[in-house]
Amino acid sequence: MASLNTLLADKPRHIVLEAMYLASHELTCSTRLDVNSVLQNKALDSDAAQAAIALAGEIIGWFVATEGKALDEFDDKDRTALAQKLSGYRLHHLVDRSPDVQNEARRLLDQWAAEAA
């Protein structure tokens, strides 16, 4: 069976990001996805939105096949496993990890934590 990386490789970044959001929403809310039930992201045109929904379906389908059970039979452990795979892919393939960006992100998070303390 193909890996998650293989499934998402060569897909446009904005479609993958949207698909991962939709898949995580379906995973945690059991919301069935179709074109008419998703509030369109302004970053996507209608063709890209439909491609993202289709890709989200592929992601869920891939994980259902990997686990060998239906989505509505998933427990918290299964949901965590997919969430971690999605999170890892996002972090390593979709987010800018240059030192300047990471340092500024860290500085802001630390600043907010200090303000909240």
Binding site: L17, M20, Y21, N41, A43, S87, L91, D96
Partner: protein, 131 residues
Amino acid sequence: MWCAPAPAVDTLIGRNPPSSDPWRLFGTYALDIRENDKGSAVIDRNRAGILRGAESKLADGVIDTNQHKIIQSMAAEASLDEFQPLFMVIPYDRAVSKQLVEKADIGVRARVTSDEYIIRNLPRDDFEVWS
């Protein structure tokens, strides 16, 4: 921003579905954070939602590419204890009078009978934060 009354109202069942019930969403986030669930699927959904929102705000010209990169980095790399659920309490009548509120179309609601709203731009003066 997706909004619902708290307590949420479904005209037929008396309570919105979990994905559009503010109290239940708050409770789910709070529980996973309090129990230090580093693999929390709902926190990961929240990260994915922030990344999605950043894409949309970039497309709208609200943020620039540098801010977009930093927001995405923050959302992806923040540790669990850097998340905190909060309520944004929005006076409904005032928001309506300022034409900030859209009623969610039936097709995009969590359930067709649930009471859900969309606010695309919310000035800081028009909400209070409670956590």
